[in-house]
Amino acid sequence: METLWFALAAVMVAAYVVLDGFDFGAGALHLAVARSDRERRQVLAAIGPFWDGNEVWLLAGGGVLFLAFPKVLASGLSGFYLAIFLLIWVLILRGISIEFRSHVGDGMWRSFWDAAFALASTLAPVLLGAALGNVLRGVPLDEHGWFALPLFDSFSPTGALGILDWYTVLCGVTALAAILHHGALFLVWKTDGAVRERSLRWAGRLFPATLLLWLAAGAASAALAPRLVSGLAARPLAWATTALAIGGLAVSFFARRRGRELAAFLGSAAFLLGVLAATATAVFPVWLRSTVDPGFSLTAHAHAASPASLTAGLWWWPFGFVLALVYATVLFRLHRGKAQAAPEGEGY
């Protein structure tokens, strides 16, 4: 039962990264790939119908963690206190900039919110990537399962720990590259004209960056946490998910070169899914590893909610999940084809 809920929480997080990832990436790139107001509105028309629903996967995933692993949620959110609030403020800035931008036609107003949107869309994946780095590196959980980390300290993952050190920042930058690549491929698929051309060029530049950073982050993880390598090696599911990641990245490269836009985007989605699934498989059953004493770690088995609570959740969760997929399908069908900048006042 705990294993199932661990998997469900991982699915929610993975869906969040793949879905909100494309609008993060498109948002972070839009200053570069869309120069005029009309082009910016084309980018916003491409992500506008989706971004809000995509973000709900984060809240719904948090809700799943809350109901199934309340201690993990409580310890993690309070331990990463300041970084969590930075993420919250970034998400607030992002939501406000996309909604407020279109209400006033003035050029300065729009330039300001475009810059704010790009900044927030860039910072969010860095913070989320750094969060994943923290989970992999471990945190100083005490015997009661609590910890507190400052935002930064020695910048070394082996010295005095902070949320940001060179390793977690590397993870953050890797996430940023992968998300930018993902967003560029989304824009190649969903836009046309000059925006598509520029996105295609950016995807070409971002592919080697993503590949190299992923390899570097993987090597650093293996060096810092050998248990991850043994965890990967011992589990056939981890081989499959790693293969999915490698295959997805390869598809994103070759399909892009052949002009298969949707296949390239789905390849990138498979890459992100594979990386996250492989990570989840490698760390299972540990949610948060203690750097103080491995016995203090928070695990899916020891820190799940009661069986009654987990069973109660299974009564309704599948219906909600299917409904969410139905909504997403309806949305993608209603907005199939290339996005056009909406006439002024009829879209973002």
Partner: protein, 446 residues
């Protein structure tokens, strides 16, 4: 002041109070937009669609504010109330996750279609998008009220030896009688806010002689809905809520009323200042025996005063609780009076010429926000000193590793950010009101 709990409470109180300014108007407007669009569909009168289109733009702005100020609420359970979350997540995590899965996905998927999709969808499907937002936002309200109701009146749970709560009966938890009463009261309260906003903008346009047809639709919809909701918020929902408080939180009821001495035929204080040190109400104006009647439906019923309860169980801020309750009830009474007069004038066909009443309606829209806020302050201050009533004290729920310096830092950050957002929001709403309704084929930016 270096007590972290004080700062946790201040931050949560500030961010939730600010947040709830927005859901109350979006939930209220969501219903009224469905009403406007269904009348428009049935009668084919374009002014109803024009009014709906205008209110959808206001709805969109308020909804965006509600979304972004709601994000920190979800996180703060973990960041600031870690022990509470770790203990109760197996129970309240159910409804918080349900809110994301059943309500937020529905709302967020159809929001952009509602705001931007009228031409793409056509009138019938656009109506369905409005219904989706109505259902989503009212579901969201139910899950949050149910979560709060568990804290007010816990049902359907068990506790293990370590004190960790888990679900025993999901159906009982979801159908908590407290949740049903509080939900009814909260939602009609939200409709009061939406209706007053509609009436205010309609009255403002009418006073200026602008947009006559849409102004008339907004004004009359606002007045009719405003009268119905103002009555319902008092009777039966408010009255029922009061009786639940009397039965299950008698110490909160005593504090709400500044009622220290127990006794039969307890009076209702219309006004007065609670003097907690001296354990009495200064300068009271009393209505005899009315508190006994409201609490127990019997003028001679015995109402226990604060003196009968150990001070450790008293709400921690009796003064603010007392004023919140009285502000809510006082304003609620005025709402009924104002809307009754307006509705009478409307029925007689004289409202549009009664500039005095139009002025009142145009200026009245902030007060339902105050009344709803005061209502939630009453509920939440009355719950103190408990997080889960009678079972888990607020002092046991904070985050053990977060110090006051961190929490004050983030609270100040929210204060600055929310000030800027609030100014921008008001500016954009004022622009929309100044611009007025738009026909479907007219560009939005002049």
């Amino acid at each position: 002041m270096s007590d972290p709990l004080f700062w946790h409470r201040l931050q949560f109180g500030f961010t939730i109070t600010y947040h709830y300014l927005f859901p109350q108007i979006t939930m209220g407007l969501a219903l009224l937009i469905v009403v406007l669009k269904s009348i428009g569909l049935r009668t084919g009168r374009p002014e109803f669609h024009d009014a709906a289109r205008f209110w959808i733009r206001i709805f969109g702005l308020a909804f965006a504010m509600g979304v972004v100020t709601g994000i920190p609420m979800e996180f703060q359970f973990g960041t600031n109330w870690a022990q509470f979350s770790a203990m109760t997540g197996g129970v309240i995590g159910q409804t918080l996750a349900m809110e994301g899965i059943f309500a937020f996905f529905l709302e967020s998927s159809f929001l952009a279609l509602l705001i931007w999709g009228e031409r793409r969808l056509g009138p019938r499907k656009h109506f369905l998008a409005a219904v989706a937002l109505f259902v989503g936002s009212w579901l969201s309200g139910y899950f949050i009220v149910t979560t709060n109701a568990f804290m007010q009146h816990p049902v359907g749970f068990t506790r293990d030896a370590a004190g960790v709560f888990s679900i025993a009966d999901l159906g009982a938890y979801l159908a908590n009688p407290w949740a049903i009463a509080q939900y009814a009261h909260t939602m009609v309260g939200a409709v009061v806010t939406g209706a007053f906003a509609m009436a205010a903008v309609g009255a403002y346009w009418m006073l200026r002689g602008e947009h006559a047809q849409v102004a008339r639709v907004s004004l009359s919809t606002g007045v009719v809905a405003g009268l119905a909701a103002s009555i319902l918020v008092a009777m039966p929902t408010g009255h029922h809520q009061g009786r639940l408080v009397a039965r299950h939180q008698p110490v909160a009821l005593a504090a709400m009323e500044g009622h220290f001495e127990s006794g039969p035929r307890a009076p209702l204080a219309v006004i007065g200042q609670p003097n907690v040190e001296a354990r009495k109400l200064d300068n009271p104006i009393h209505l005899p025996a009315l508190l006994s009647f409201i609490a127990y439906g019997d003028f001679s019923a015995d109402v226990r005063g604060l003196n009968d309860f150990p001070e450790a169980d008293w709400p921690t801020n009796i003064e603010l609780l007392y004023y919140s309750f009285h502000v809510m009830v006082g304003l609620g009474t005025l709402f009924i009076a104002a809307m009754a007069v307006a509705a009478l004038l409307l029925w007689r066909g004289r409202l549009e010429r009664s500039r005095f009443m139009l002025w009142i309606l145009a200026l009245a829209f902030p007060f339902p926000f105050i009344a709803n806020t005061a209502g939630w302050l009453t509920a939440e201050l009355g719950r103190q000193p408990w997080l889960v009533y009678g079972l888990l004290r607020t002092a046991e729920g904070g985050s053990p590793t977060v110090h006051g310096g961190s929490t004050l830092f983030t609270t100040l950050g929210f204060a600055g950010l929310y000030l800027v957002l609030g100014v921008l929001f008001l500016m954009l709403v004022a622009r929309e009101v100044g611009h007025g309704p738009r026909a479907l084929d007219r560009p939005a930016h002049g």
